[in-house]
Every structure is written in C-alpha cells, then in structure tokens.
C-alpha cells in the first residue's frame, strides 16, 4: 500500500465519531417525532397508501436484513493468491468448481430490527449469484446478481415487489463474497491449523485465522476470527465460520456457511429472476 493510501486509511479510520446510546435514542425520538408530525398533516392522501404500506413494511425489513447480511459478508472478502501445501489443493478444487450451493446464516449484534429470516441458500457461479432468504421452509426474498450485466434484482415473494439496480462500475473488484474467494484468502493469510474434527458427520481438518488481512477491505474490524473446515475425503470445504468485532466488541458480526454442494452444474436459468406477473416494480 502506498504512503498516500496509508494516510487515506488513517483518515478514514481515525475520523470516527459515534453517538452515545442515550444521545442516539434521544435524536431518534426527535426525528421520529418530526416525521410523525409530517404524517399527521398528510392523513387524507395517506390513507390509501397505508394499505400498500402495510405490505411494504415487512418487505423493507426483509430487504434491509438481507442487505445487511450481504453487506456484512462483503466486508471481509477480497482477491488474494494461494499458498500452502495440502491446502493449496483445496484452493484449486474450489476454484475449479463451476457452481456451489450452500446455506448461510449470519447475525449482526446488536440488531435493532431483529432477525426476520432464519437462513439463506446461496447459489454461485463465476459470474452469477442467487441468494434466497428463508423463514422456516418458506422463501421470502431472492437477490439475483449478474456480473456480466452488472445488475442486481431483489424480489420479495411475500409482498410481491421487486427492485432492479444496474450499472455498478466498481462491481468486479468488490464482489468477492463467495466461498471460493474466502478459501483463497484463508490460504494466503497467516493461520494456524486446528487439526481434525468431525463436522456434520464428516471428518474434517480446519485452519483458523485472526490475520486482519483476511478482511482485506478498507474498514477492517477491530477483531477478527475465521475458521474453515475441509473434508479429509473430498477436499472441499464443509463449514466456514467467522466472528468480527467492532467498537471494543460492542458490535459483532458472526456468520456460518455450511451444507455445501460443490461442483454443481448450475444453468443460467437458475439465475434468471423469477418475477411473477403482478409484482410491483419499485425500481428507481
């Protein structure tokens, strides 16, 4: 990193101000009160909207949480090279895997909105992705990503709405949140071996890193721990987990990826946004 970049990092990191809890709550009350007074003046035209809004409240919360999970995952991913001996084979296998499906569970703490979904099922190829969010066994939101067209589509299946966003110029450099890039990063970062352990009935070997370089982003967490467990038999990852802390541990982000299906031949149909007729387009 150049001196210039380092100093930019210093400014970015050190110019950090937070409102204390009491101040934060007080400001929120004042702001919501101001909003409330606006709402009251708009009752006549607002009544019809409220019918729609009740649908949308849940949708937005769902979208917020999905986005928070995705954004959280974005934080600790970046391109890196491979290293190691046995583990280098893992890196190669994962890179060669055309498609992967897995379950992802993550939590932000504190999470004032509460966790509204239980887990995500993520699908990835080299250029496309689909993230399905589930509550119980019911799919509630899907996010489709396509790096070729640089578009993302969010579909809310409960409230029958969708948002389409396009033209993200920075996308190719910042989108590496998939298990492949995580594996490469594990291999290139300073790590320690955890030995053997049975994970979900599979004999695995694991490594753990607390190397800040694993984050790779511009705003790394204050503390970081990530582990990967790889099947001794197949050489594919079985579980990836992490715990990041900020603000002296007051804010935490934890994640687990498991139930992997590697080397899946995912057709492009899997990534075609499923938007049933009648869904409301709320794209900008």
């Amino acid at each position: 990193m150049s001196t210039k970049d380092r100093f930019e990092d210093i400014v970015r990191k050190d110019l950090e101000v937070h409102a204390g809890d009491g101040t934060c709550d007080c400001m929120r009350r004042i702001i919501l009160a101001a909003y409330g007074s606006t709402e009251r003046t708009k009752i006549p035209t607002f009544a019809r909207r409220m019918v729609m809004d009740k649908r949308v409240v849940k949708f937005a919360l769902a979208a917020v949480i999905v986005a928070a999970v995705v954004l959280g995952l974005f934080e600790f991913l970046s391109p890196v090279g491979s290293s190691g001996v046995v583990w280098a084979e893992v890196g190669k296998k994962v890179q060669a895997s055309q498609g992967v499906i897995f379950r992802a569970v993550s939590r932000d703490t504190p999470d004032p909105h509460g966790s509204e979904f239980d887990y995500r099922i993520d699908h990835y190829t080299a250029t496309q992705s689909r993230l399905d969010k589930y509550k119980g066994d019911k799919i509630i939101t899907s996010i489709y990503g396509d790096c070729n067209t640089k578009t993302t589509v969010l579909v809310d299946h409960i409230h029958k709405s969708f948002v389409k966003m396009a033209d993200q110029q920075t996308m190719p450099d910042t989108l590496r949140m998939d298990p492949n890039s995580m594996v490469q990063r594990f291999l290139s970062c300073k790590h320690k071996e955890l030995g053997e352990q049975t994970i979900d009935g599979v004999l695995c070997e694991g490594i753990e890193t607390t190397d800040p370089a694993f984050h790779g982003g511009k705003n790394p967490p204050e503390s970081l721990m990530a582990r990967i467990w790889v099947s001794v038999e197949t050489g594919y990852p079985v579980r990836i987990e992490g715990d990041y802390g900020r603000d002296n541990g007051q804010r935490r982000f934890t994640f687990v990826q498991d139930q992997f299906q590697w080397a899946v031949d995912l057709s492009s149909d899997s990534f075609e946004p499923n938007i049933p007729a009648g869904y409301l387009d709320i794209s900008p």
Binding site: Y35, T38, D53
Partner: protein, 186 residues
C-alpha cells in the same frame, strides 16, 4: 464467483421508497445506518461535538419533515452527506454574521470543545479534527467527503460549484497539508 456489490444501493432504494410512503421503520433504519457516518463528517468539517450533534440532528429532522415532498434519484448517502455540508456552511455563515455584529471580527473560530460524553471518539480522532481545522474549508470538505463518505470528485465538484480538476487540486493540496500536519505531530 461474484455477486453484484449494489445491495447497499438496493437497500437504500427500498428505504427511500418506503420513507416517501410514510414508513417510520424506514426512517429509523436510515437514521441507524447513517447517523455515525454523518457525525464523523460533521466533526471533520470541522465542528465541535455539540455542533456536530446539532447539525446531524437538524439534517435528519429536516429530512423527516420533508418526507411528503421527498424526491431523490441519486444516492441517499451522498444526499445526506451533502445536507451535512450545507448545514455546516449555513451555521458557519450565521456564526460569522453574529461575530461581525458583536465585534466586527472575521470568521468565527471553530475550535474544539472538550470531549463530549454524548459523542464517542478517541484521541486520534480529536487530533485529526484539529489538523483538519487548519485546512481551508473547501479543501476540508473535499478531503472529508471523498475519504469518509466515499463521494466521487465529480459529485463534490457539483456540490462546491467548481470543476472536477479544481476539486482534484483541493484534494491533493488538502491531503498534502494534512499529512504534513499529522506527521509533524506523530
């Protein structure tokens, strides 16, 4: 294996859409998402902690009151950051006016107050804000908005009403001076 990086933008579009339609949850989420960033920007422009808190609160209250007429095609984050900048400028102008009325002096000193328990920041932040305070305000705005908010130079140029090359120069000179001040202290 890649996934588009615009989920933040998607979330903001949903929040904007819901905010316009009267969702308190959306406003609350926008507040939670951006309050700390805006406080950091307000501190860096610079303000004292009380000023920073007032500015950010004013921006959000104004934002909340304008829900009915809210129309925004662009980035919510950039909009809020620009609102902070404009609010800081307004307050500085008012303060200069008051100061001129009081004693005929020039611009008010925006010195730092004692650390405020209501806002949380560390010693390095305080020193950085002191260093930023020594930059001309145009350079300070560019440095803070580009680094802290991630705003593009062309958007800063629009906000400042100057060319992109001018903004680029302000950024370069500002960073050089800030680095010199910082290195001198460390």
């Amino acid at each position: 294996m890649l996934v588009p990086d615009n989920s933040r933008a998607i979330e903001d579009e949903v929040l904007k859409w819901r905010f316009k339609r009267g969702s308190r949850e959306a406003l609350s989420r926008i507040y939670e998402k951006y309050v700390h960033l805006l406080l950091s920007i307000a501190m860096g422009l610079p303000n004292d902690p009380h000023e920073a808190e007032d500015v950010v609160q004013d921006v959000f209250v104004s934002f909340a009151r304008g829900a009915g007429d809210f129309r925004l095609k662009g980035s919510l984050k950039a909009y809020l950051a620009a609102s902070v900048v404009n609010r800081v400028r307004d307050r500085a102008r008012r303060e200069r006016f008051r100061q001129n009325q009081r004693d005929g002096a020039g611009a008010a000193s925006l010195d730092l107050c004692e650390p405020d328990e209501r806002l949380v920041y560390d010693e390095r932040c305080r020193r950085l804000v002191e260093a930023l305070a020594q930059l001309p305000c145009e350079q300070r705005e560019v440095v803070v908005l580009k680094i802290k908010d991630g705003m593009k130079l062309k958007d800063i140029a629009r906000l400042q009403g100057v060319s992109v090359s001018t903004v680029h120069g302000r950024y370069r000179y500002g960073m050089d001076k800030l680095r010199a001040l910082w290195d001198g202290e460390v």
